[in-house]
Amino acid sequence: MDLTPSDEQRLLRESADRFVAETFTADHRKKAANDPLGFSPAIWKQFAELGWLALPISEADGGLGGGAIEIGILMEAFGRGLVSEPFLSTVVLGAALVAECGTEAQKQAVLPKVAEGALYLAFAHSERAARFDLAHVDTTATKTADGFRLSGSKVAVLDGAAANQIIVSARIANANGASGKLALFLVPAGSPGLTLRDYARLGGGRGCSLDLKNVALPADALLGDGSDALPAIEAVVDRAMAALGAEAVGIMQTLLDTTLEYTKIRKQFGRPLSANQVIRHRLADMAMQVDEARSMALRAALMAGAEPVARGRAAAGAKAKIGKCARFVAEQSVQLHGAMGVTEELDIGAYFKRLLAFDTLFGGSAHHYRRHAALSGRQAC
């Protein structure tokens, strides 16, 4: 039991913090917001050169063999700079799903390219009727003579428009049409029958919804051997929630730091806002909640490799708790900035919106407290 970061982890944090502070300025963010991709491919190349894209990929698959702690270190730095590069979509979700489910050939075709920065991935799983139930998939994959045909609709596909390949979940339809096992498919961008409705994502980056109408795929588009993909999806999403939690911590810390500075400078009634006890105690509560969130993100990362129930309880607990803390810190940051906090003239709103998006992704606090209770045997989910 030791929670002291290794020298490598300390160095990674320093270099990530430095790179993000120098690169992701407010001006940069405005430019990225107008980019059709929602981010800068030139910076993505730099991520590759820094080794960040290879970091969580295993050494056998051409990566550096880092784990959830290293991902958390990067994500926290990304949160501080509101980075909109598709690290979550391509690396934390996409590459992890391929690593988790793919055949040797699929891994070799995809993972080294991800590590080089030459391939963008996206994960199309959520459906409107599913809300946040990972097992609820209505999209079907019907077997054909030489492969599959996919039909259905997906929502909240992060960075779908930038992706060269989209990993789509579907239920394999039996001969009699009844839906069977959940499977994952690698769908190339621009496949006939695939329609994207791209949008600017709340808090930065892009998202889309996806319609699939008889999208024809070869047999080897199926990730892996066709065994049930739900356990892998749950594992990867739990790890993604730990990563998102770390990103939220970076966002919350920046909001706290900014708000703290503002309350020292802003004078009302002849004294700084921070001279008022009601403000001081609010800030103390914000600081405590940032710290609790930090603990929960670290915990979820440390438990990322645990058996499914322990991992799921840690991830659900983290998502629920960090979501609750994030809402509080975000709302109080706006509140303590007064009317300026609700304008686009300050950065506060951008950070606020990214936290709101965080809370929504993969389900909010109420959903994850329910999931935690269910995994703890306290009630039906």
């Binding site: 002291t4 405590m288 710290d291 929960m296 915990r299 607990g317 407290y369």
Partner: protein
């Protein structure tokens, strides 16, 4: 970074379990479970302290030269977690965790030689003389005065909220020896034999029905100057050092987890009509458990960063605040879990020595008193409002 224990740590965990199962009697366990106040009665607590001392585990946080076991942070963690899980009695924390570190840090060689072994062995039972009727959160405004008379101080005044003063044979107290420019100046830290003539103790019953705290009066009480710890007038510094130990550097999450487990067991049992089937109860239980997870991780982070015996500093305020708030959430949940049985008041104490059949199942007796007494968690040791002020000042630099 790693949450798992090494083979050596696992072996130590087994040692702790073996020790507990060999020494924790069913009577001690039952008495602890049925105690609704913050501290165990001394007959139970000191029996445990003696057992720990025999093993060399009497003061986990002390340096080796004073009888500490020289544990790594992970070992301290394991010890606290296993102790909480097994439901061991509370020892006299005023001795081991409060005055002990101050004597180690600032006491004379004579004081160390005399007092420390007696704390370890359980021979001495300490109480804390800090608060006064006029000085609650504003502790430094204290008025109990010690006037120098040759080799003695003559003490006059009163202390209040003194936990277990009616059991203690010794008190450490903050007294005013001078009127300094600031009210923090002129305070001295002094060790008092409770049998000294002129000391009287008045019991104060708390709303849960327990006699835990007292008011203590000093009427021309003569205490040798040799009983002062450190320099005259520097008592505030030593007192604050102690408060940081009182608030933090402890491992509170293990006890919270055990308290929640007790409530969860009641909720899953027929004795509460299976309260857990109420979805609101189930969700709140998860919410509290997740809060405990967060506190536990923060404690582990602090523990990893600290050297044994080092002053935990302002983070202790964060730990104290969260511990007290979560403790209250657990006890509140307990009241809701037992439902109608919470209406029955049992005035007799202690619950483990009742000489009549209680009106409700025995295990439900402490639940409401724990909630009621537990309101004090956010008040004692510096109220939550004081802790927020410390965080604003020391952590946020405001």
């Amino acid at each position: 970074m790693d949450l798992t224990f090494s083979a050596e740590e696992r072996a130590f965990e087994q040692d702790v379990r073996d020790f507990i199962s060999a020494n924790l009697t069913p009577e001690m366990k039952r008495a602890t479970a049925l105690t609704p106040s913050v501290f165990s009665d001394p007959d139970i607590g000191m029996a445990w302290q003696r057992a720990l001392h025999r093993k060399g585990w009497g003061a986990p946080g002390w340096p080796v030269e004073h009888g500490g076991p020289d544990w790594t942070p992970a070992q301290r963690w394991i010890f606290e977690a296993e102790s909480a899980r097994a439901g061991v009695p509370n020892v006299n924390v005023m001795g081991v965790k409060m005055v002990g570190p101050v004597i180690i840090g600032f006491g004379s060689p004579e004081q160390k030689n005399f007092y420390l072994p007696r704390i370890l062995s359980g021979e001495d039972y300490w109480c804390q003389g800090y608060s006064e009727p006029g000085s609650g959160s504003d502790l430094a405004s204290l008025k109990t005065r010690a006037v120098r008379d040759g080799d003695d101080y003559i003490i006059n005044g009163t202390k209040i909220w003194t936990t277990h003063a009616h059991h203690a044979n010794r008190m450490f107290a903050l007294v005013r020896t001078n009127d300094g420019e600031r009210q923090q100046d002129g305070i001295s830290f002094i060790l008092i034999d409770m049998k000294t003539p002129g000391i009287t103790t008045r019991p104060i019953l708390t709303i849960g029905g327990d006699h835990e705290v007292n008011q203590v009066f000093f009427d021309d009480v003569r205490v040798p100057v040799a009983n002062r710890v450190g320099e005259e007038g520097k008592g505030w510094t030593y007192g604050k050092y102690l408060l940081e130990f009182e608030r933090g550097a402890g491992i509170a999450s293990a006890k919270l987890r055990e308290a929640l487990r007790t409530i969860a067991e009641l909720a899953e049992s027929d004795v509460t009509g299976r309260a857990i089937e109420d979805p609101d109860i189930a969700l709140r239980m998860s919410e509290v458990e997740v809060d405990i997870d967060a506190l536990e991780m923060t404690e582990l982070r602090v523990l990893s960063a600290l050297q044994t015996g080092q002053n935990p500093g302002a983070v202790s305020s964060v730990l104290k605040l969260r511990n007290s708030e979560i403790r209250q959430a657990v006890t509140r949940l307990g009241v809701d879990v037992i439902g109608n049985d919470g209406l029955a008041v049992e005035p007799a104490r202690p619950f483990y020595k009742l000489n009549h059949e209680p009106a409700i199942p025995e295990e439900l007796l402490p639940v409401v008193p724990e909630y009621l007494n537990g309101r004090a968690y956010t008040i004692f040791g510096g109220s939550s409002e004081i802790q927020r002020e410390i965080i604003a000042k020391m952590v946020l630099g405001l």
